[in-house]
């Protein structure tokens, strides 16, 4: 898109050149004018330039190559050059250069160099000086001589651009800068554009990937209002301004390699290849062309990594390659295809870079290449996020594979568990008071996901987990619950795992600490008290966690609908009414028996039978039996009352927790969700969080 706009700019500029050319060529061939003003359009991409040259050829009535042959090659150079010779030689050199740029014909470039070299003693004229260095810079690029290229561009800047800047400003102040009479000074905005494109685009097209760093100065100067700073000449939106500022942002930002332009351009090129691969992935799936594009992107990142001199640069590359890796696995999982894609980057390499960044710490971060500490911290957190996301994505891929290939379910489930475990190890090592600075907020929820993922790997996906694996899964579920207790799905997961081991009775003792942790959390209380995001949902859950019966519901009632649970309560109430009625009958019988006649016995349906009300007296045995029945019925009634009261209290609470579903999904899809910050605070609030113990007692 950006390159497209640059192309448009060149076309626009070329139209402007047309009017100049018409003026210039009033007394000669139109090509004279087009060549004199070639600085306007010469840095267009080859296709646009070719089309432009063909169009000019039609307008001039002769194509450029023939014009050069007729006008220049047939003219024998005289011993002493006059003013006309100088102009002729310059036009000739420019003509060859245009043919080279339009057709990628290196022979034309050679001719251009030979021609412009004839003016090597006449560089006092800015125009000669410009074309001399510009043509030689192209030659250096073509020959892959990066140091020569840098030298020519720096000379061009110093000998041509700098001396023209003040005259141009003066003429601009007098509104004379766009007058043809202003001379070569009027070309300055185009020279800025051309130098920018030469460094940023042309050097990369020709594969220059080293030694460009001294040109960082030129890039910084161009970006400061020089390119795009003359909208009356070249519209800012149509210049390479945006492209340039993106490069500068990288050059001076967190994704740099201590300010290396070579590295910045290499990484930028790799990112362009990455974008191309993404586009193919979206439009064509994981076909051959996409696989090829992904491998090109990976190879380009490897070039950038090879150019990195500092840990800062390595971190920038790994951050992006992990994104690529995660995208590949996500696509494989989503599309259900599994082509072989060779990449040289691994999560282990990225973790190694992270470790080196963390080791530098507050004292040594400057030695890694960063100039500001916030950039260092941001880079660490960004790299971490990519490590966590690629770990989770690839683990997800293996879980999907375990379902897809039942005969390999155990193998893939264990691969997933290993990935989750590696992330958890990283988390546990750095999520401490000393190491947490480089850990992003989203890392805590990711740790919950990873811990839960270990549990799921062994208990949901593996077909034949070992006893140790089941035990580890249960402990990981508990760890996941402690980090993020608001995931309703994990509670029944724990009960299922316990049932598998015949340890259902341990449920409450396992989950209660996590629930109590949430209830006691000051950070959570403050969050809810301050009415921070999701307070309502969290308040409901915290209220539920304080009731053990709700915890039981959370673990065991997940499969049942709330209607079924409410129907059970209604049935209980009916049962209670019956028992109460029976009790009253028994009590009445006892009262009658002591005064008139006691009940003899109760039938199966609870109806009092005997001689109640007949006036007969109960003997001692009958009285004892009646008392025992009254006692038992009273106890049953009390139990029913307790059950009804408990259900009456907890069912609404449990019902309300059903409405909190979805928080996990929200956090999974949004790394910037505010609840991530809350989880971080809650985690560090409890220094005694036994996630370590729970997760890694193996």
């Amino acid at each position: 898109m950006l390159l497209g706009r640059v192309r448009i700019a060149v076309v626009g500029a070329a139209l402007a050149a047309l009017s100049f050319a018409q003026i210039a060529s009033a007394e000669g061939n139109a090509w004279d004018g087009y060549l004199d003003y070639a600085y306007v359009y010469s840095s267009a991409d080859s296709a646009a330039l070719k089309a432009r040259i063909e169009q000019y050829g039609k307008e001039a009535g002769v194509p450029l190559d023939r014009y050069i042959t007729e006008q220049f090659e047939s003219v024998a150079a005289s011993d002493e050059q006059g003013p006309d010779d100088e102009l002729r030689i310059r036009r000739q050199a420019i003509g060859y250069l245009l043919l080279y740029l339009a057709n990628a014909d290196a022979d034309q470039l050679e001719k251009s160099v030979d021609a412009i070299d004839e003016l090597s003693e006449q560089l006092g004229r800015s125009e000669n000086h410009y074309w001399y260095h510009y043509i030689h810079a192209h030659e250096a690029l073509e020959l892959g001589r990066e140091h020569d290229f840098v030298g020519y561009v720096l000379d061009l800047w110093q000998k041509v651009v700098v001396p023209l800047e003040e005259p141009y400003q003066t003429m601009q102040a007098l509104s004379l800068h766009d007058s043809p009479a202003a001379g070569f000074a009027a070309s300055l905005p185009y020279l800025y554009e051309n130098v920018a494109r030469l460094i940023l685009l042309r050097s990369q097209e020709l594969g220059i990937d080293s030694g460009l760093d001294p040109l960082g100065s030129v890039i910084r100067m161009l970006a400061d209002g020089r390119v795009g700073g003359h909208p009356d000449v070249i519209p800012a939106s149509a210049s390479s301004k945006e492209y340039l500022s993106r490069i500068l942002d990288r050059l001076d930002g967190a994704e740099s390699d201590a300010g290396s332009l070579t590295f910045t351009l290499a990484l930028f090129e790799a990112a362009k290849h990455h974008d191309t691969a993404r586009g193919k992935l979206a439009s064509e799936g994981l076909g051959d062309a996409t696989v090829k594009a992904l491998q090109v992107a990976s190879a380009s990142y490897q070039v950038a990594l090879d150019r990195a001199d500092t840990v800062q640069g390595e971190a920038a590359v790994h951050t992006r390659t992990l994104r690529l890796l995660g995208e590949i696995y996500a696509a494989k999982q989503r599309l259900g295809v599994d082509p072989e894609i060779n990449t040289t980057f691994t999560i282990e390499d990225a973790i190694d870079v992270y470790n080196r960044m963390a080791e530098a710490g507050s004292e040594g971060w400057g030695e890694l290449g960063y100039t500001q500490k916030p950039e260092y911290v941001l880079a660490m957190r960004t790299l971490w996020e990519e490590i966590q996301e690629s770990s989770l994505n690839i683990a997800d891929y293996y879980l999907a594979k375990s379902q897809e290939l039942p005969h390999k379910a155990d193998e893939h489930a264990r691969n997933a568990a290993r990935l989750y475990t590696r992330y958890l190890q990283l988390f546990l090592y750095y999520a401490t008071n000393e190491g947490k600075e480089g850990v992003p907020d989203s890392a805590y929820f990711a740790a919950h996901e990873a811990a839960r993922g270990v549990g799921d790997s062994y208990l949901v996906y593996a077909k034949r987990p070992t006893i140790e694996e089941v035990d580890l899964a249960i402990r990981q579920y508990r760890a996941a619950l402690k980090i993020f207790p608001f995931d309703r799905q994990i509670w029944p997961g724990i009960t299922a795992a316990l049932q598998r081991q015949g340890r259902e009775s341990e449920y409450l003792s396992l989950v209660r600490p996590a629930a109590e942790g949430a209830v006691r959390s000051r950070a959570l209380a403050r969050w809810i008290g301050s009415n921070e995001p999701e307070s309502t949902r969290l308040k409901t859950l915290v209220g539920a966690f304080s009731d053990s019966l709700v915890l039981v519901y959370l673990g065991y009632a997940e499969g049942k609908g709330i209607d079924e649970l409410e129907a059970g309560l209604a049935k209980l109430k009916v049962q209670r009414d019956e028992v109460k009625s029976r009790l009253m009958g028994l009590q009445s019988q006892l009262a009658g028996g002591s005064q008139t006649a006691p009940p003899a016995s109760m039938g199966d349906d609870g109806e009092v039978v005997g001689k109640v009300g007949s006036g007969e007296k109960l003997d001692a045995a009958q009285l004892a039996q009646l008392n025992r029945e009254i006692m038992e019925t009273s106890a049953l009634l009390e139990r029913l009352d307790t059950q009804i009261e408990a259900r009456r209290r907890t069912l609404p609470l449990y019902k309300s927790t059903l409405e909190t579903d979805g928080l996990s999904g929200d956090l999974r899809t949004r790394r910037d969700h505010p609840i991530h910050a809350l989880l971080r605070r809650m985690y560090h609030e409890h220094a005694d969080v036994d996630v370590t113990e729970a997760a890694y007692e193996e």
Binding site: Q169, P214, S217, G259, S260, D309
Partner: protein, 188 residues
């Protein structure tokens, strides 16, 4: 680094010697400069813009050089040094050659800032003679004007006395700063 310190020590020593044997600018040159001294209007504005652009560009050069130094890019530094020498010869020294820019109330701060930033680049390029010349020049031009505000280091405003002190601290920290500073400081 050691060599940088040594050459800068020499530079300061040179500056000291320069103070003692300083030959003033010929009177006719000063008078000529004053005749052409723009007091305001577009000419002054242009000069201001040009000096500001030059100062900003030197800061960009400094940033680029810092980057190469951090990465031990010796080849790049060699290429850059050649460029910066040319830039100083062809542009900066010509821009600051006249006496009036260092006396004009609207330009003096910029003039001094350019010199300080150039000293910094030259110091990092390990260029003793050029740095020495600039330090000499600053001390002589700004004699008695230690309170003039300058941008040094880039992005920070300090008075000229402090700027010289900072230059000393940054590049001569192994020497005895107090003794030399007292001797070298411009008179207030």
């Amino acid at each position: 680094m050691t060599s940088t310190r040594h050459f800068l020590a020499l530079a300061f020593a040179g500056a000291l010697a320069g103070c003692a044997s300083y030959e003033p600018v010929p009177l006719e040159d000063i008078e000529l400069a004053r005749v052409h001294k723009p007091l305001g209007g577009e000419t002054l504005a242009e000069k201001h813009r040009e000096m500001q652009r030059t100062r900003d560009d030197i800061v960009r050069h400094l940033r680029t050089l810092d980057s190469m130094v951090r990465r031990d890019d010796d080849d790049g530094i060699v290429v850059f040094k050649s460029f910066f020498y040319g830039y100083m010869d062809d542009h900066v020294e010509k821009l600051l050659a006249k006496d009036w820019t260092s006396h004009h109330p609207e330009l003096a701060g910029l003039d001094a800032s350019i010199r300080f930033n150039a000293i910094e680049v030259l110091a990092k390029l390990d260029s003793p003679h050029r740095a020495e010349a600039l330090i000499d020049d600053v001390k002589l031009r700004y004699r008695g004007r230690g309170n003039l505000m300058v941008d040094y280091p880039a992005g920070r405003r300090v008075n000229l006395t402090k700027a010289l002190e900072l230059v000393e601290e940054e590049y001569w920290r192994d020497d005895d700063p107090n003794e030399r500073l007292n001797a070298d400081m411009p008179e207030e």
